[in-house]
Structure formats: C-alpha cells, structure tokens
Symmetry: C2
Subunit: 239 residues, 2 copies
C-alpha cells in the first residue's frame, strides 16, 4: 500500500509538497480522479481524490479519514546518545519507528563521542519508515540537548527509565522487562547512553530526579541495538 | 576489551591467521610477552601469552581458558529470507549476534526477491559482532536452502516457529511472546519470511511438519526488523 505524507490538510483539501507531488505524478503516474491515501504524521490517515495533478503541487479532496491509524497502545519516548557513525543512528530510528516509537531525543552525554546530530535527516528517515510500516503517526525528533538537561526536563508523569551498564550496589538495576511488566504506565521514557556509558554524575542526577535504573539483559549491546531492544521491550509489554 | 579470533588452538598453542596477526602486531602493536584474549568461536575464551609476534602469523601459549564465555541460556536458530538489500541482512546479522544468536540459515522462499546470498560476508560480520559484544561463540551460517527444504530438515526436538503475516482461520497464530512464555524449550527455531510473506503452500507444509504459527505483534515489520524482534523475544524470555 503506497502512502503519501502531508502536513497541509485543511478545509477538506490535502496539498502535497514538491517531493511528494513529484513522486505521486511523475513516478507513480497518478492523475486527477485517482484516489490516494495520505498520512498527516499525527495519527490520521486521509483517503483523498486528486483534483489537481500538478507534479509540483498535487491537490486532493478528502473523502474520509481514520484516526489512530497504525497506532500502538502506549507512548514511547527514547532519549538516545548519538552514535559515532550516523548510519547506525538512522538504522535505529527506522527500526524503532517500525516497532513503535513516538518521540526521539538525541542526548549528548559526558562520554559521548559525537556531540552533534542532523535532525533533518532523521526526520526524513522517520517519515519514510512511518509510510513503509503503515503508521499515520511519524515520531517527532527533538534538537539535541545534554543528558542532564533532558533528565531535568523529563515529564514526571511518565515512567522514566535510564539504562546504564555499571553496577551500583546502592541502587541495584532491575531488568527493563521486569520494570515494564510491573507497571501500567502507558507513557514511557527510556534513556540509552553512549558507548562509554552514562557518567556516574549523570546516573546520580537521574536517580535523584526519579528515574528508575534498568539493565537490558546480559548481552553487551551497542547504543543503537540497546535502543531497539528498549523499543522491543515496550512493544512486547503491550503485545 | 580487545578480542582475537582463532580456529587454530591446539596442544596449548594458539595461532592467529594473517588478518588477525596483522591487526595484532601492526595495528595494536602487541609483542612477544604480551597477554591477549582469543575466542575460538565455539564458546571458549583463551587467555594467551604471545610467543612469536610475526605480523603474518602470531603464535601464543595458552595460559587459561573459560568455557561458555558470554553465552546465553538458550539456543536460537533463525531462518531468514534474504533481503533485497544486502546491507540490511548484514545489519540484522550483526544485531542478532549482539542480542543472542546461535545459528543462521538463509532460506529462499517462493516469494523471495533475492535468491542468492554470500555467506562468507555474513560470517565476517558475525565474527566482528561476536568480538565486539564479548561472546566466545560465533553464530554459524548455513548455505542457503529453500524454505521447504529447511522446514523438512528442521530438528523436531526444537520449538519450531514460523512467523507469517496472513490470517488463517483454521490455525490462528499466537504471539511469539505467548508461545515462548508457555514453553520451557531451550532450543528455538524461528522462520522469518520475505517481504512478500511465506506462500500458503510453505505455511501449510510448516504446519504439517509441526511448526507453530506465530505473529510478531501488530506492527508491520521489514524482514530484518522481524528477525531482530524474534531474537529479542527469545532474549526477553530468558532475561
């Protein structure tokens, strides 16, 4: 099933941007009168009939819509340190979206090797992944902030988890599975550290702020694998 | 922690091949007298002292060894159809190894777009992944066979699961989580189909042979994502 993406759907009219229009008309050869399906990135799928098949600006009339299309029964926000290699971060974003993701925050830790990230590229990856996996919601991406800033601003209404590798006898970590299984929380935040792990100071701040320390099992996972594992944990919890 | 890999460990002597030796001596600058750790790919870690630091053929004396190093308490065999794009298959192999994998069988389905696969490349990816994730076992890769041949030859002692997308009212699919949770099986086989799904004939043969049909949740997952999700399911089952 082919899907288009548009943030410009109002007054019963859907307008596609230049890229989407080009793909619609020149590649897929749609013409006025054809029906197309468009996601708005916020959970709704619109069934539309093309009025104007200009390859630079398709216009279509909304026939019907469906809310919460392809959605999942929980809200997952992953805060993940950028990986040294951009490809890996993009792979992870794509997979996390397929599995189930609502919000992505790149966070820069004290031990982070990469301290910048092009969110525009990640947004494109997420739009493609949402279309391919038939979800009308596209996960949002935030601009990078420091780990400490993220910890301080994280919503206290959410079940907030921080995954780090070191052992701290004062506050033993439980498995992410155990913590999720023992909670009814539908809003989940999971922080995934860099290859060098979160620092002791970052972990301490997280605990002070009410984050629950978790481990992701016995395997030593790369950052992007840990992030996918966290997304899977939430997915299985509500499967 | 840096690890080396060798299949040539006998009589108390470990020999590294040309690539490993070059890396050991020229890149990491090890010399005779240094201690190195070597995995044999079959579960054992050897602690060794270098005797000869030739960059073409390092020799080291075994000091001690540890069995089942970095192992996991179950045996997972994934049979996965090759993806159209080789990168995706390699990406999946790397991640599945990090999470926990013992054997990988590329299987060619009736709906498979790609009908060949270079197993040598996959082996290299798996050796790297095992070293990076500190596991002494490297998952084995088999030569590609047809889905039907795999189904017929699969060990009947294992818990055998086939994940397909279509609904079959005669034999409803259960979630992979539910099936694993209700089983004590330590040997698990999971078949993951191509983007076009397994054919009805392949699914029927699988059911005849005793495979249990499962789904991987509500999300529509690419082949490589489905395979990682299956690996995660086994990982969480025994977490």
């Amino acid at each position: 099933m082919e899907l288009f993406y548009s943030r410009d759907i109002q007054g019963g009219i859907c307008r596609l941007d230049q890229d989407e229009s080009g793909h619609c008309v020149k590649v897929l050869r749609h013409r006025a009168g054809d029906e197309i399906s468009v996601i708005d990135g916020c959970g709704t799928l619109y069934r539309c009939r093309i009025i104007s098949d200009s390859p630079k600006g398709v216009e279509a009339a909304v026939i019907s819509h469906e809310s919460n299309w392809g959605g999942h029964p929980y809200r997952l926000h992953l805060a993940v340190c950028p990986t040294k290699n951009n490809d890996r971060y993009e792979w992870f974003a794509e997979k996390a979206c397929e599995i189930g993701l609502d919000e992505l925050s790149p966070v820069i830790g004290e031990h982070s090797e990469r301290r910048v990230l092009k969110t525009a590229r990640i947004e494109k990856v997420l739009i493609s992944a949402a279309k391919q996996s038939l979800k009308a919601s596209v996960p949002s991406v935030n601009e990078p902030v420091s780990v400490k800033e993220f910890i301080r601003n994280a919503s206290k209404d959410a079940l907030r988890l921080i995954a780090y590798c070191f052992e701290d006898e004062r506050v033993p970590r439980r498995s992410i599975k155990e913590v999720l299984d023992s909670s009814e929380a539908k809003e989940i935040i999971v922080m995934i550290g860099p290859e060098g792990d979160f620092s002791k100071a970052e972990a301490e701040l997280a605990l002070e702020q009410g984050f629950i320390p978790v481990h992701l099992g016995a395997s030593r996972l790369r950052t992007e694998t840990a992030a996918i594992t966290a997304a899977s944990a939430a997915y299985f919890r509500y499967m």
